[in-house]
């Protein structure tokens, strides 16, 4: 696993408009998050079944709040803080009030992470809850890997409108995660 602080260079490039850098950044963060979240769940006496839901919720939060990272500061504390908050949110929703310190677990040897289980349980219902147009755009971009410009042509929308709709859909997903689902 890469040193988290190395990711600041990727985030900087991403801010300059480098899609590849942002994809790599999210990939590295995902790998790190899976380990951290799984350890957090296990140490709280929870099963790891919802691990991927929390990973996705955290990725969404990082994405939507990425402008709160100050380039003058190291990125690792920022990443840890969001992961910590999202894990605590999840545990609180499920009626767990103890303090969770992810740093206690960050240095332990890596746990095996089952990547086959990388589909989150709740997000299928979440996608279904989106309005038709938002759901189609998220699906075409994420599941089928199409570019925003192509999706726009297919739907007879402008590329800008597709991007706005996608952004709205992602915000709606983040809200969906925050709701009490237990």
């Amino acid at each position: 696993m890469a040193d988290l602080n190395d990711l600041s260079a990727l985030m900087r490039s991403a801010r300059q408009g480098d899609d590849g850098a942002y994809r790599r950044l999210l990939g590295e963060v995902t790998v790190w998050l899976r380990v951290v979240v799984r350890r957090g769940l296990v140490s709280a006496g929870r099963g790891a079944a919802d691990c991927e839901d929390i990973v996705q919720e955290t990725l969404l939060a990082m994405h939507l709040k990425r402008d709160t990272w100050d380039e003058a500061r190291p990125i690792a504390p920022w990443l840890r803080a969001i992961a910590h908050h999202k894990l605590a949110d999840y545990l609180r929703r499920r009626g767990f009030t103890d303090h969770v310190d992810i740093d206690d677990h960050a240095d332990a040897p890596e746990l095996a992470v089952d990547v086959d289980a990388a589909a989150s349980v709740d997000s299928r219902q979440m996608l279904a809850s989106l309005p038709e147009r938002q759901r189609r755009i998220v699906q075409e971009i994420s599941l089928e890997g199409r570019r925003a410009a192509d999706v726009a042509r297919g739907l007879g929308m402008s590329e800008g409108a597709v991007r706005v709709t996608l952004h709205r859909a992602l915000k709606a997903l983040a809200v969906f995660y925050r709701r009490d689902r237990s």
Binding site: R23, L26, A118, I141, S142, L143, H167
Partner: protein, 150 residues
């Protein structure tokens, strides 16, 4: 949805250029300041004796306290917007509290005891008590409306 697919959606969404939160907040501060200034000039206007007033240190202290509050609140706002605030940001407000208490003490020493009640509460307190919550509510609902349309 698989996480890798979510990542693709996030990458596609990234193109919408966003400025750092400090720049956005500074812009909001400038716009808000200009709007307030215009409203102030239209509705209230600058007091006639502004120049002699500025020359008295008690008046300057009032303006100074507000400016200190503005600077501290701006920094605090930024810290609170971050998931990882550095140190204990709330402690910075201590300087403001000390300044306000000192100014209050000085003011009470300078003015006659009989006028303390009016000086502390003012003569328009009932207007303020009703106006401030109503304005806050209007702003709150406007803000909610903007968010839902976004």
């Amino acid at each position: 949805m698989k996480t890798e697919q979510l990542v693709e959606a996030l990458v596609a969404d990234r193109a919408a250029g966003r400025k750092p939160i400090s720049a956005a907040l500074a812009l909001a501060l400038v716009v808000g300041g200009v709007v307030s200034l215009v409203l102030f000039l239209i509705d209230l206007g600058v007091r006639a004796d502004i120049e002699p007033a500025l020359a008295t240190w008690r008046f300057d202290l009032k303006v100074g306290t507000v400016l200190v509050a503005l600077v501290l609140a701006f920094g605090l706002c930024l810290e609170c917007a971050r998931p990882d605030p550095s140190g204990r940001p709330m402690r910075r407000l201590l300087a403001l509290a000390v300044l306000a208490v000192l100014a209050l003490a000085v003011e009470l020493v300078m003015v006659p005891k009989a006028t303390w009640g009016t000086r502390l509460v003012g003569t328009n307190s009932l207007v303020c008590l009703s106006a401030i919550p109503s304005f806050t509510h209007i702003l709150h609902w406007m803000n909610l409306g903007m968010n839902s349309r976004r």
